[in-house]
Amino acid sequence: MKSTGFEEILSGFSKISPLKFEIWNEKGVVGSCDLEDPNKVRQFLPGMAARVYATEDFLHEKNSKASELFGLPLFNEDSVAGVLLAYFVNTRTSKRKTDPDLGDAKVILTKIASLIEERWEMQNESDTLITELDKSYESLHLYSNVATQIKTLNFSSQMILHLLNEIKDNIRMDMVFSIMPDRPDYSEIVCREEIKIKDEPGFVASLIKAVENSNKELDEGYFIVNNSADSKSFSKLNKNPFRFLAVKITHNENFFGWLGIFSLNMDDIIKRSELRLLVSIAEQIGVVIANTDLYNNLEDFGINIVKSLIVTIEAKDVYTGGHSERVHNITMRMAKELGINEEDTKILNWSALLHDVGKIGIPESILNKPARLDDKEYEVIKSHPLKGAEIISPLEYLSESIPGVLHHHEAYDGTGYPSRIKGEQIPLFSRIISVADTFDAITSDRAYRKGASFEKGHAIINEVAGTQLDPDLVQIFNKIYKKSKTWQIQRQII
């Protein structure tokens, strides 16, 4: 029984009045009472309390000690949560002239009881409000978490996992899942440890299949089962009854998959607020996936544009077909070996692909001259890194890739071009491209000579380590050269 907050008041009141009050529950008196009891009336109280509990109504009794007993049930949420007892004591000093008025006693007891009941009711309401507020706080926390994730362009499987776990803890579900048939990366299931479902993916798949096979209209974009026992197609999926909600993940008519919650706790139902929360999260996921797709498409589009640009350049130079792709390939392997992070690898990726883009401004007569170039012609060729940097400079997205292009012909000892910088002054990315570029130049056929073998190319690279090339990066090149017995074959493919 909840505390009434009236025990102290009633006990104090009892001290100054011939009418003594006590509040009882099934176990006995609640709070303090007058234990002096000279007339030995209190012995009748347990029986009285029990009778009031049983009748759930006002009782008035006269006992063998000629003392009056009154009892009234105290209701809390439609059941008796306690009883209010009162009795008269005929002390020697206060001889009453008349018998106590039964009506008066009933009125005052009823008033006190209703005060206690009102107080309980208010406490219940307050507790309900607080519980609701608590839930709103949890939802708010979840929303703010989701909102932060929505801002990022690249959605990942870890983010889905994190989100599902948040939902599971937040609305106390046994299982939360996202199923996207075309996106296995985003298909995850999280489950409370205590829940034993064999083959969770299989179970979720059969659940979704049953949803999709059901004749119910799915216009609203969700599907609720509050008790699987009510439906044949769902009850056969698990031996214990369950409830679940699946919400469609869509964006602009595109269907991506399902977001679902599942519980074996049948004491509760899936609430309206939980449905709203899940629908809104599913909407957000839809937006993020659409954005991520769009971003990836744009990036792919960009890469393909650059690739066509390279094909155009290489079409001018009959001998260098595939050169940029091969340099790019070697550069990326070196980047991996060096442990360069994803973001920087992207920058290097563009520099490597575009390192010779400046050749578009070199006359074909020079590029394809079937003899050694004279000094003047060589000067024209030497302008290609600068021309390349100029070509890509209007593209903000590629701004960080410019240095890699501009300096890929600098030499480690400072004898290269265009800036004649040396050692560490040369950007790392240019030094990497330089190694890859040199190797491919040596081993490719040229207008005026045949390409050297891979072994010869490898040997020459090591000869120029420290003069033309960064010796540390040549070591890295040696490592990947050793690993790549299959270069010969790959070259044929490219």
């Binding site: 507790d127 607080i130 519980t131 507020l133 608590d134 706080y137 949890e138 708010l140 926390h141 979840l142 929303y143 703010s144 803890d169 937040n170």
Partner: protein, 127 residues
Amino acid sequence: MDKKKTILIIDDDVHIRRILEIKIKHSGYDTLTAKNGKQGLEIIQDQKPDAVISDLNMPRLDGEALCKLTDPIKKDRPFLTIIITARINPQEQKWIDEMIDTMFMEKPFSPSKIVEALAKYFENTNS
């Protein structure tokens, strides 16, 4: 059985105090509440709570000042302090790291995560 742990909740917002009070009571702890850092500090000194949950921005002694005043007490009698704050900036992270047994929760906070943090702390300190 262990004596019930007592958690002090300090916040100038009455509904936050109430929500945390009910949530924490339901999780089996005793609670004390204070409306500001000054009142909180007095309760920490007099009633020695086992953990303190405090808002950062409060009238009459804010969360940061409170932590700095209670840190010396924690040397003899360590207890957990959870600071509730809006998005944390690096400077704030720094002073929180310097305090004994102090952590933060971002607003909007999750009441169940606060209870989880309390349970974890008591589990670690008991063993």
